[in-house]
Structures are given as C-alpha cells and as structure tokens.
Amino acid sequence: MDENLKRDIIIDNYQNPMNKELIDDSSYLKVNQASESCIDNLDFMMKIEDNIVKDIRFDGEACAISTSASSIMIRSLIGKDIDYVKKLLTNYKNMIEEKDYDKELLGELLVYDTISKQPNRIKCALVPLEAINKMLEELDEKKI
C-alpha cells in the first residue's frame, strides 16, 4: 500500500475514530488496556451474541497509532463470528511481529504492515488486539 494512503487512513481513523464512546450496558464484556511502557490508556467493551461480535466500543487517551488501530480493528470485526475474529487477530499479530500472515484477511489493517520498523510503536499497534483477546478469554472462562 502507498505510504501516503496509509498515513491518510491512520490519520482519518485517529481524528474520526469508529465507536470511540463507551455506553452503559452490563451485557458487554469490558477491559481496561493501559500500557506499562507508554501512556496509552484505553477502555474497551464488546458485545457478543450467538457467537457473533455485535459491537465493540472504546474510549480513553492514546496515541495516533493505538487509537487508529482500535478504530480500524473495530470496523473489521463487527458482524464477524468468533472463529474469524481469532483468525484475524492471529494474522494481525503475526504481521506486527514480522511473521507469515494472510494479507487477504487483514484488509485496512495492512496500514500497519511496516510498523515493526518503529520498535516504540509496536506496543501501540497491539493495544486493541490485547484488549480484544482479554475479553475473548473472559468469555471462554464464562462458558466453562
């Protein structure tokens, strides 16, 4: 993807993030994702019904990379089933960590395909992934 287009997508999602507003609803899974190494501090909430992601929302203070990554990831995951979500998250993590991944699956998230070249940004790009993984783990525990 063209570097300028990548920047446009990142800035657009930073300045107009999707679902950057929490709501008061106890049926959502919730998690706070605060980084110990940087100052990002975001709250996430996710609603899953019949194995489908119905909604994901977030809010808080964070940098351009973690905010935009949260926004793009939310757009990529709403309406998908959990197996797909897990597959996408695995491929996204592989991309960030410079391992093999399925480009077709990641769509707009490909804007972060060279983020590994900026070591201090890797954790920012992983903020939404870690938050969603934690909520999925919580869901698994509830099922057990």
């Binding site: 920047r7 990142i10 100052i39 990002d40 501090n41 203070e61 940098c63 351009a64 935009s68 940004r121």
Partner: protein, 396 residues
C-alpha cells in the same frame, strides 16, 4: 552555559528532559571513574591508603551536602534517592509518631513518591489524607491552606517545586504555619535542590528529600536531611554491618550515634563521591545564577511558543525551567516521538502526578524541563520544529 563540560551535549542532541534526569559533567564522571579505577575500597574499614582516601571523600560528601542546603544541626542520610527518602521518613518516623485520625496534607500536583507512601500509611494506621486546593494556575492556595489547619493536622508533605507545573511553593510561609501549629514539614526537593538555592535551616524544614541524578550527579543516590531532634526518634529500617557499635549473645545491640546508623551495608560509595563532585560543580556556578538563567530561558520559550496558536501551555507563569504543553490535535506522546525525530528529548505523560489530571483536565502533557546548559538556540530549534501543521502525518 558550561556546555563543554558535558560529554553528551552536541549539536546533534537537544536535551530538554532535565526534570527526569540531568546530563552528567566530566568532573562527576571522572570522580567516579577514579574511585572505580584508582582507589576502590570499602569505607570505614581499611587502614590502607586507598581506603583512607575513600573514607575522606565519603565523609566529606556528607558535610558538602550539609553546607549546600544549609542544614547545620541536622543529619544527612544517604539514600537511593528522593523516593527512598520519603518512604524512609514515612516508615521510620511517621509510622511511629502518627495515630489514627491524624491528618496529612498533600496536594493533587504531587509526584507518586509523595503520595503513595502516605496512602499506605493510611491503610496501615488509619491516618487521613486531605488535599490543599490549587489555584487557577494549579499552584498552592495558601489562604485555603491556612483555613485547613486544625489540631488534627500533623504533617504537611509537599514538593518545593512541582514537577509538572514547576511552581515554586512558598515553603517559608508554610513552615511558619507548621511551627505555630506543631506540624511536621516534609519537603520533596527533587525539583528544587538542583535548580535553586535552598536553605534548610532558614526555611524551617523538618525533612528534606532529593536525588543526585537530577543535579548532574549519578543515579542510585540521594539524601534525606532531618533535623537532629527528630532524627533521634527515627528508627533505622535496615540493620547490619556498618551501623552497629556492638551486639551481644543476649540479643542486645548498640547502634552508631551518627548518620551511619541509617546506612546498613556497603553504601553506594562511588555514587556518593559523584554527588559530592556534582555539588562542588554547581556551587562553583552558583545556584542563584542557575535559577535566574533557567527562569529567563523559560520566559524566552513561552514568548516564542505563544506565537504558535496550536500550542496549549499549562504553566506559563511558574517561576522555574519547567513548561508543560500540548499541541492541539496531537497526542502528547506523538509529539514526543515527533521531537525525537529531530533529536530533541522531552517527556510525554502524566509525569507521575496522576491526581493532577482532575485539576487541569488533561491526563497527558509534553514537558520541557530546562537546565543551565540549555540555550536559546536550542529553544529556537524546538520552536521551529513545532511550527509545523503536519506533525501528526510525520510521526506515523
């Protein structure tokens, strides 16, 4: 000034993160290299020349500190830094002198190290913590403080200079209130001792804490200065070698009568020697000169940044070298990462003052903290790179 004495300073690096730690002078570095390469030895043990040399430097460092902060009849205890100093005074003195319901006055601009030890004391013995209100400029409101004083208030613990706002607190007036109401006054000098003349006796301080690394000295060492009539009631937290006179089969023991009773085990000798050298260096320039220069630099910085309508400054008027700001529409950490691309070192975050966001309405800021080796030319460069509508684009 004195840029040639600092090996990290170059045309390629602008260091504006002096509130976090400062650069080290050649004299400080060399004093420690000498200890580690020419006369390494433990203190107060050996009879050989190297050990005698070490003793002399280590012991004289204590007097150097005492004179530097004008604490004539007080004890100077070497700690690992400000954080340990505050934890030490809370644990070894306050825990034994305060009781349930006693009130400790803090304020919401304090650093974590002057908040959390008191939080734990609250958990442990049930003290109460109250916050002195801040003015619209986020500075201490002395009138409100006076109204808060009652017979339950036993301690005021306060930074001399706040590490985010950079305001110099009126310790003299606070101390008068303390003296007339039997209140202990604990001053966190981490951001004042390196930058201005501080008169422990003249200001009437009971406990003073600071760190060497924020005043061109090494990491790992700092001081707790305590008035002698209080330190005699302080219980050493650590026991071991170097602090006892003798101990006996029946389990009894006697401790040293001087400050070494608080310094069990081998102390950071090389670092104490480095601290001594740092103070000698700063004294040679003169603390009043340093403070005046930093305030002038900050005024210059503020006047330049005022021309950039994207910059939001939070503490334009505070009388120190600290400026906290944000760039409209760009997250503080993104600004910091952007400035790093131009080899400018600043700090982004809450600066460990996590209660302050309730007051100033933002959690994170960019902080420029100046020192005597910074220049107007460096500030010009910062102002120039911040005058850019594409910061966000260039940082991702």
């Amino acid at each position: 000034m004195n840029r040639e004495d600092f090996p990290m300073i170059s045309d390629k690096l602008i260091y504006f993160d002096n509130g976090a730690t400062t650069l080290k002078s050649n004299s400080v570095i060399n004093s420690m290299i000498d200890y580690y390469s020419k006369f390494t030895s433990n203190i107060h043990r050996g009879d050989y020349d190297a050990a005698l040399m070490t003793n002399e430097l280590y012991d004289s460092a204590r007097d150097t500190v005492r004179e530097f902060v004008n604490a004539k009849d007080s004890e100077v205890i070497f700690t690992s830094g400000t954080t340990m100093s505050i934890n030490y005074l809370v644990t070894s003195f306050m825990k034994n002198h305060l009781k349930k319901g006693d009130v400790v006055l803090l304020n919401k601009a304090e650093h974590a190290s002057n908040v959390l030890p008191w939080f734990r004391l609250k958990e442990e013995i049930g003290i109460e913590i109250e916050y002195i209100p801040l003015t619209e400029e986020f500075e201490i409101d002395l009138d409100s403080l006076e109204k808060m004083i009652n017979n339950k208030v036993k301690v005021i613990s306060i930074a001399h200079v706040s590490n985010v706002i950079g305001d110099v607190r009126d310790i003299k007036s606070i101390s008068k209130l303390c003296k007339s109401n039997n209140i202990y006054l604990c001053v966190d000098g981490a951001q004042s001792i390196p930058h201005m003349s501080v008169d422990f006796d003249g200001l009437g301080i009971d406990f003073l804490s600071f760190s060497a690394h924020k005043m061109i000295g090494p990491t790992g060492v700092g001081c707790l200065v305590v008035r002698r009539e209080l330190s005699k009631d302080m219980k050493p937290i650590f026991l071991g070698g170097g602090m006892n006179l003798d101990f006996y089969n029946d389990g009894s023991y006697e401790l040293h009568s001087d400050e070494t009773r608080f310094e069990a085990g081998t102390p950071p000798i090389g670092e104490v020697i480095g601290l001594r050298e740092a103070i000698l260096y700063l004294e040679k320039i003169g603390m009043d000169k340093i403070h005046k220069y930093e305030v002038e630099l900050k005024k210059y910085l503020v006047s330049k940044l005022e021309k950039n309508n994207k910059i939001i400054m939070y503490n334009k008027t505070s009388h120190s070298g600290i400026l906290s700001f944000n760039v409209d529409g760009v997250f503080a950490q993104d600004v910091s990462i952007y400035l790093n691309k131009h080899n400018i070192c600043v700090r982004a975050g809450n600066h460990c003052a996590k209660l302050l966001d309730e007051e100033i309405g933002v959690s994170n800021t960019v902080r420029v903290s100046l020192y005597f080796y910074n220049t107007k030319e460096e500030i010009d460069k910062l102002v120039e790179v911040l005058d850019n509508d594409n910061i966000l684009r260039e940082v991702i």
